[in-house]
């Protein structure tokens, strides 16, 4: 799951990033309202955490405009105030949830999970390709009913491939979406290394191959899929 944290307090932002990365989210951060609005409108995201006091553009305006640009993006609002008027204003402008500082990371994390359960239809939260099944919310992977343990990066890579099942994905696309980097894959073989790890773990042999190599292009996941339109990819 891809998350944007919009918070101008650097230490707090770093703690939130560390906490959510440990929970296997792919995290982007922004400390300015104008920059955040651009990311919320144009970047592929599953959820955003938005502080209200921001330089550049205030959080409420970011919320209003982002809901016009991308109404389906769930947004949890953080604020240092807890007065009812502000809560009502946020909810009326499209906030999906609201938490007042000081809050517990555990509570924020639980609220995000609950929000993702509410906003993602079952068919979108569970991806299947052939006999491979990936639950995006429970972070569980099974093949032919047998559970497979993956690292955070392997999970993100498999999720990206399954979201794009049937499509060709280049190594550069994988690097950008899974590693969150904009660099040429010419200088690194990290994608191929991780694809090999994945193939080994999901038992992707010649007879039941799901991840296919497209020479000179990248990879393609093939198989019967119940995947609907990808959430935001």
């Amino acid at each position: 799951m891809r998350m944007l944290i919009v918070e101008d307090d650097v230490p707090l932002c770093n703690f939130l990033r560390e906490g959510f990365e440990a929970e296997h989210y792919t995290v982007e951060v922004s400390a300015r309202g104008d920059e955040a609005l651009l990311k919320m409108s144009e970047t592929e995201l599953d959820v955003a955490i938005l502080d209200l006091s921001l330089p550049g553009l205030d959080g409420l305006t970011v919320l209003k405009r982002s809901k016009i640009a991308r109404p389906s993006l769930p947004v949890v609002v953080l604020t240092a105030h807890s007065d009812i008027q502000e809560r009502v204003q946020c909810l009326d402008h499209g906030a999906d949830d609201f938490i007042a500082k000081p809050f517990s990371f555990l509570e924020l994390s639980a609220r995000i999970r609950a929000l993702l359960r509410r906003t993602h239809l079952p068919s979108q939260s569970v991806l299947t390709v052939g006999d491979l099944r990936l639950d995006r919310v429970e972070r569980r992977v099974e093949r032919a009913g047998k559970r497979i343990d993956l690292t955070a990066k392997e999970f993100s890579l498999l999720e990206f491939l399954m979201c794009n099942a049937g499509r060709k994905v280049t190594r550069d696309m994988i690097i950008e979406h899974v590693w969150n980097l904009n660099l040429s894959t010419a200088s690194t073989n990290v994608v191929d290394v991780y694809i090999n790890y994945l193939r080994r773990k999901i038992g992707d042999g010649a007879s039941n191959r799901l991840i296919h190599t497209l020479r000179g292009v990248g990879y393609q996941m093939r198989g019967d899929t119940t995947r609907c339109v990808p959430l935001s990819w």
Binding site: D9, P11, L12, N14, F15, L16, E18, G19, A22, A80, H81, A100, K101, P102, F103, S104, F105, L106
Partner: protein
């Protein structure tokens, strides 16, 4: 404008001033308090190296000092004659 501000300040009841000061204090400490709680919650989750614990505890200490500074500022403002 300045005169109006001084008049308001002079005649604002002590209880209202204290309430305003406390509200400002709570606003000022909400950020470091959240950071402190999150740092400690993240620190106690899962196994970490000694170096990693030290890093998180150092950061938590910095946040605790931010709260202490805000508390000192509040006391100085309230005790100002």
């Amino acid at each position: 404008m300045r005169t109006a501000f001084l008049v308001t300040e002079r005649y604002e009841p002590a209880a209202a001033i204290e309430r305003r000061e406390v509200t400002e204090f709570l606003h000022a400490v909400s950020q470091p308090m959240t950071a402190l709680i999150c740092a400690l919650e993240i620190a106690v989750r899962g196994d970490r190296s000694t170096q990693d614990y030290r890093r998180l505890l150092d950061q938590a200490l910095t946040e605790a000092k931010r709260i202490a500074t805000a508390a000192r500022d509040l006391r100085a403002r309230i005790q100002r004659p």
